[in-house]
Amino acid sequence: MSLELVDVAKTFGTVHAVDGVSLSVASGEFFTLLGPSGCGKTTLLRLIAGIHPVTAGRVMLNGRDITHSPMHTRNLAMVFQNYALFPHLNVFDNVAFGLRSRRVARDEIRTRVREALALVKLEALAERLPAQLSGGQQQRVAVARALVVRPDLLLFDEPLSNLDARLRDEMRFEIRDLQRRIGITTVLVTHDIEEAFTMSDRMAVMQGGKIMQIGRASEIYRSPANRFVANFVGPINELALSDIETVGGRRRARAAAQLVVWLPNAEEGFGRNAQSLLLRPESLRVSAGKIETENRYAGEIEDVIYLGATSECRVKIGEVRLSAVMPSAAAAGLGPGERVSVGWNAQDGVLVDAG
């Protein structure tokens, strides 16, 4: 069951909550809408569900135009941020709700609800009321209630944000695993990068009601389309560029008005007007000895911050400050004031335009 959005827009008064979004989600794909709060991702999800009418554009589910279909006819299911379990119904009746709406026979309801509860390991709690369940259990009931109707499309609105950290990690894999086993097309909304990266096949990064970039986690992390995406999906060092020139088939530029740096080789035209070079902290090398990277400079360590498995090294090259992350073992001998070599391979840099 594939989902396709064509130029979908939603306006609340004068606010463009969703501003011309087009994307397609393949059958069985786990797709994530990722972005900071207020970027329009939840509104977009509600447009797909039919909770709000769209202002413009089309929503297609498996080739069927559902843009103006009322939500109860769309055959999709949604897991809400606060789960939205019906407090007056016990677990069994909550899960059975969608089946009763579809006028499924009584015996079949009993079988399918039992199956759904078994899937989320809650068979024993069928008689409990939602208020008698923990957050994680409520979450499972919400998932079972959504899956039991065998929807064409499963929607998640920040489903894990109300859980504590450990449970969140556990549920991520559980939901991902369940989705793979059932093979259901899924759209998830989150502001949590780690959640998006661990759960989804592909994701769309959104800002200001628009899609900034669509791609796999690695594409979005390694080749962000712009400064916003780069910043949003992880910490970066940013160097302003000037005087870009081509020397012997390679391009170099002046960075932060001080350093001469080799730039990543790019396809024809790409990065021609680039104004910044972005560097992930983990692509920087810092060493008291010699390093072999294409760009390398003499620097001085300002601070070393121990983070467990990794350590963050703050270094200064002249007046340019950079942050590097490395395995803690590699940072063991380093301390503030130490003179070191700092460098990176030209290909690890990312060029972005202004904005």
């Binding site: 509600r46 569900a49 039919g50 909770i51 009322p70 939500m71 109860h72 006819t73 769309r74 055959n75 999709l76 299911a77 949604m78 809400f80 941020q81 606060n82 939205a84 379990l85 019906f86 407090p87 007056h88 709700f97 969608g98 009763r100 709406s101 579809r102 209630r145 959504a146 109707v149 929607l155």
Partner: protein, 287 residues
Amino acid sequence: MLDRRAGVPWLFVAPLVLVMVVGFVWPLLQVLVNSLHPNTPQGIDAAHWTLGNYARLADPFYGEVLVRTLRISVIVTAITGVLAYPVALFVSRLPPRAQSLFLLAYISPWLINTVVKALGWTLLLRTNGVVNTLLRGLDVIASPLKLLISETGVIIALVPGHFMFVLLPLWVALSGLDPALSWAAGTLGARPSAVFWRVLLPMTLPPFVAGLVINFIMNMTAFAIPMLLGGARNMVASMLAYQVNLVSLDWPLGGALAVALVAFTLTVVWAGQRGAVLLVSGRGARA
């Protein structure tokens, strides 16, 4: 230490308990005691005990008054319940400022003196009043409807008068309801009518029934409107109580009447609450 703290909540409610005991429980007991004494031309005969006052209530006249009071009250409460729910739903989804304006409009009848209200209704409902003139002008009716000095008039005037007692608790409950509950029901395939019967109504039932109960009691005890719009021919319990207690000065009979009315009202309220719960759980399971 613990024991002293345990007494603190009682300290807080003590003033109200005192007021209720002195101003309500004690007079009520007095009424009960009066109802068990015979009445004499000299006043209450406190030396003798009797159930005769209750026996007098068996007179068909009193039964008729009680049944009429009940009929009017039930009809008004039913109309109010059916009308108030959509209004509460509508108002709870408006922007805050519009909500206050709407609520004010529905509360305003309560801000006007009942007698003034009743006189206003007289102008609207009399034979040559606004309503009849309008309906005849539009050729809806041939001859004027008898809206004054009739139960119809009393019902028409009581509905807006006591509307807010159902509307306000419902509005509070619906405003506090998480919209995601309706969305969850809708995405799970429930049509809007099923969302109402299976989610909204069961979840707002306690405040809704509470509002209906208050409304019903207000209708049972209404005095000025039935008196001015219903007239002596459509006597209700409150008018009868007035007549017996303050005109005939027959306090024992008045007491018996009051006790019967309280018992009657409580029974109806209890039955109504049970019925509402059963209705919704039945509909909810089937829908």
